[in-house]
Symmetry: C2
Subunit: 520 residues, 2 copies
């Protein structure tokens, strides 16, 4: 507790603090409704690591990649669209000059509004606005018994409920984990149903096949109305570029469906730096910049003005084992650079937050997660994907980590409010009032500000050792599982019109009758 | 592993990566000597949250605190010194005008050199230079069996050896943990002996009594020579201000001894924000700014030009339980502000890095540690105290966390090198060479840069799940304990002249005969 010896100065202060805090605790207990945090509007500066010259160097390199090397679009319709737009198309290789590319990119909105079916959950993405979204796509779950097993539809719905209840998560998610108990061809129907029923926050749609994107859209229209969905963006879905420099047909199909419907898409190169990019952080950024811009430009050809989020998933690859790594310094540095590039083109941009390679909710998982997320916040990412629950390089979603991460996001949210100077004069009055050797808990200023001054995490145990023993000597993982269980126990559905619910179910039945039980 | 589904794009890249990495691994195995990292010279920008006006607002408030409220110096000699210097002294209360204060503060060096007994371990503190030092002062240890027990001299020596072997730790430490098996009055002798014998890095001296500081100095002179120590700074010791606004006699005694000997001192308000400061982050900074500046100014009265590090320990206090909290957003924000204030006065400044309230080396400990440390790095702290091993609000030092944190410091060290553009043109050549759909592991650029491009942590397991199972399903804590055990097994003493060693032992015997076996 102290610097000098562990038993001097602080002990008395601490004792005073504990005494004075009892009254505060009593007062606070009386009011604790679940309050959702609106879109985060960042009030802290952006952190940048490239100077203007560096940004232009990367820009120039990306332009030359697209002009001279080109990028593959493995989809005939896409190639036709590019040819029509005036790009140089040879086989599947598309080369585009910067005038064409930048003209298209400039059509994408800098900020877009993402609507929840509850208007109070509507958020903004881009510029100073940031939203947090859960992890995505894990085939495994680290469950309540600490077992790693294939995830099920029940797990997926549990995660959607947890996301719904998490104040700092702005989206409920999409396929947070794979419902492995369902045939692949039918999963998207149940995912969309879960997103629409168990939360009223904005969500993410299927992108693994054209029809799946179309089904998701159809279901969203049934809930929010055809006209509303035609005029508003209610989803943000993820499409990955197959780095280096390949956009595959599947992803392009989904991108086309959503872009045509004016629904937002994360245009995300999937970077395993060193394996599918050069072994250079700046080099990797130049390549992904080309990939993301080409994707955004293509989306603008499909529908000018449709919302596109410049983005990436970024891991560095261990040159020792070939495995992707999370929480490395280069991932932080790349995030800063990526943010700078996205802002150069006035595009909202996406990053990944709480990524971890760990197989458990242990110290490794948290070291990795906060190493990356801290940089992602300061880099000014607008859409923070994988902000809760991600483990094992994304192969596993963890209940415990989901709620722990969700609380960290509340802390980052608070962090981004920056230094609050509003009550500074009163605080200085308190210094005069208290004077040397005094204590602050009884002052008027403290009484007025104790609830708002300092964030108090619930899942981080700061009690003394003896109290912690009395509470059962639980580690963070154990406490988090209890919290998640409690949340699911208290969860209440946000309410879906029974007629709409029945219509959704009928749609699912109808589509299931048409869809073969394929495994991919 | 993927965004879209967990089984698409990356799998093939990953497989390629694993194949290609085998050759790299073979090459790398051949050379792995222990290389210590020199002083960190930060090449990344500073992060700041106050604008110029905000800095001046805090400055003005601090000046008025010292001019109008005053600060207590509970030491007659100190009061006489202040009176002599022209301050307004009434009882123990000292009020000083800003001209006096700032004139004194300006005499402290902006950067100082801190010498190890091995010149290769000599570092710089201040300006763009940052050093990392271990945790300090814990009465408990979380040991190799996972037991929390009182720490012993053996534990302390173990930590000094681990610090000696950790590439990114620039100081061996001081009283990393309390040798509770020795009488309080005699501990400092064995601490200093351990620092001088088991490592050749710079270290930290005792500050809990005047004689203890003097004994430490005497022992340093025996090892490094009277003349050398007279001319060079070989220690940096920590003195705490008893916030709010009290400098106690014990701390002032130590500060006087070290300042007179031109040895550096961390002038550290011990901030429990909300309890011994106002419930306001900016308010807390204004108060600690006054406290630190008064301490530095006093040190300059004792010996003009002696190295003083503006600094603080900062926790926020839970208004729910009264307990100090670690890893909160406000601690990050305060660090940015404190850095800005210190730079305003051209002083080197100290912060605390890997602080945690957790009782275990679990996810909580790591979330907390990296939340704070990340900000401390970007804030530009020059002396990062508690950079390894701190647990349970400092009451416990953990072997596992020590080595985990030490590796994180290697990562922060790398982080601070910033974006490397040297090989950018070659990286872009690699993009041309590889082209769409290719892979990079065989390229000349990758071969040339694979070892330096991306940091590969040793204690963060990024193997796949099956390999991790084969390796024993170990969590980070378990792997870290194995690593720490291995390091202690391989540890070799840096070599101390046997005659000097014998002289140190004789000095300890002599002093022990004079010192009563007191318990405080």
């Amino acid at each position: 507790m102290s610097d000098t010896t562990a038993r001097d100065t602080p002990t008395s202060s601490e004792r005073r603090a504990r005494r004075g805090a009892r009254a505060a605790r009593r007062r606070e207990r009386m009011s604790a409704p679940l309050v959702m945090l609106p879109t985060l509007e960042r009030k802290i500066p952006l952190y940048e690591v490239l100077n203007e010259e560096g940004v232009e160097l990367v820009h120039e390199a990306s332009m030359r990649i697209l002009e001279e090397v080109g990028i593959d679009f493995r989809d005939d319709e896409a190639l036709a669209i590019w040819r029509e737009a005036g790009a140089d198309v040879q086989g599947q290789r598309v080369r585009m000059d910067r005038a064409l590319l930048l003209g298209l990119v400039a059509q994408a909105p800098e900020v877009y509004t993402l609507h929840g079916r509850n208007p109070e959950r509507t958020v903004r993405v881009g510029g100073p606005y940031t939203v947090f979204a859960p992890t995505y796509g894990s085939p495994f779950v680290l469950d309540f018994e600490g077992e790693r097993r294939y995830s099920t539809l029940e797990d997926l719905y549990n995660f959607l409920k947890l996301a719904h209840l998490s104040p700092a998560l702005h989206l409920s998610g999409g396929i947070v984990c794979e419902p492995v108990d369902l045939p692949v061809s039918r999963r998207h129907l149940h995912v969309a149903y879960g997103c629409l029923r168990y939360s009223d926050k904005p969500f993410m749609g299927a992108t693994t096949a054209r029809e799946r994107a179309e089904d998701t859209l159809a279901m969203a229209r049934m809930v929010m109305g055809e006209e509303f969905v035609a005029k508003h963006t209610v989803m943000t879905s993820v499409t990955n570029c197959n780095s280096p420099l390949v956009w595959d047909a599947t992803m392009l199909d989904a991108l086309k469906v959503y872009a045509r419907a004016n629904q937002a898409v994360l245009v995300s190169p999937f970077v395993l730096a060193g394996a599918n990019t050069p072994a250079s952080s700046v080099g990797a950024v130049a390549q992904l910049n080309a990939e993301a811009l080409a994707g955004v430009a293509f989306g603008q050809l499909v529908r000018p003005g449709s919302p596109m989020v410049y983005g990436q998933f970024t891991a560095t690859v261990s040159m020792r084992s070939g495995a992707p790594m999370a929480g490395t310094p280069e991932i932080c540095l790349m995030n800063y650079m990526i943010g700078q590039m996205a802002r150069r083109y006035r595009l909202p941009w996406r990053s990944s937050g709480m990524n971890a390679g760990s197989k458990l909710v242990d110290a490794q998982a948290a070291y990795e997660s906060n190493m990356t997320m801290h940089a992602v916040l300061l880099a000014g990412a607008n859409f923070v994907f994988h902000a809760a629950g991600w483990l094992e390089a994304g192969l596993s979603a963890s209940y415990a980590k989901f709620v722990l991460d969700a609380e960290q996001m509340e802390m980052y949210y608070r962090y981004a409010q920056g230094a609050v100077l509003d009550d500074f004069a009163e605080a200085m009055e308190a210094v005069r009032e208290v004077g040397p050797g005094g204590h602050y808990l009884g002052t008027a200023h403290t009484q007025a500000h104790f609830q708002s001054a300092f964030f108090i995490p619930e899942l981080l145990d700061n009690n003394n050792y003896e109290q912690w023993l009395l509470d059962g000597s639980k580690d963070a993982n154990t406490r988090a599982l209890e919290k998640a269980r409690g949340m699911l126990g208290q969860y209440e559905e946000p309410g879906l019109d029974p007629a709409v619910d029945e219509a959704l179910r009928a749609f699912i039945r109808e589509r299931e009758a048409q869809l073969p039980e394929t495994l991919s």
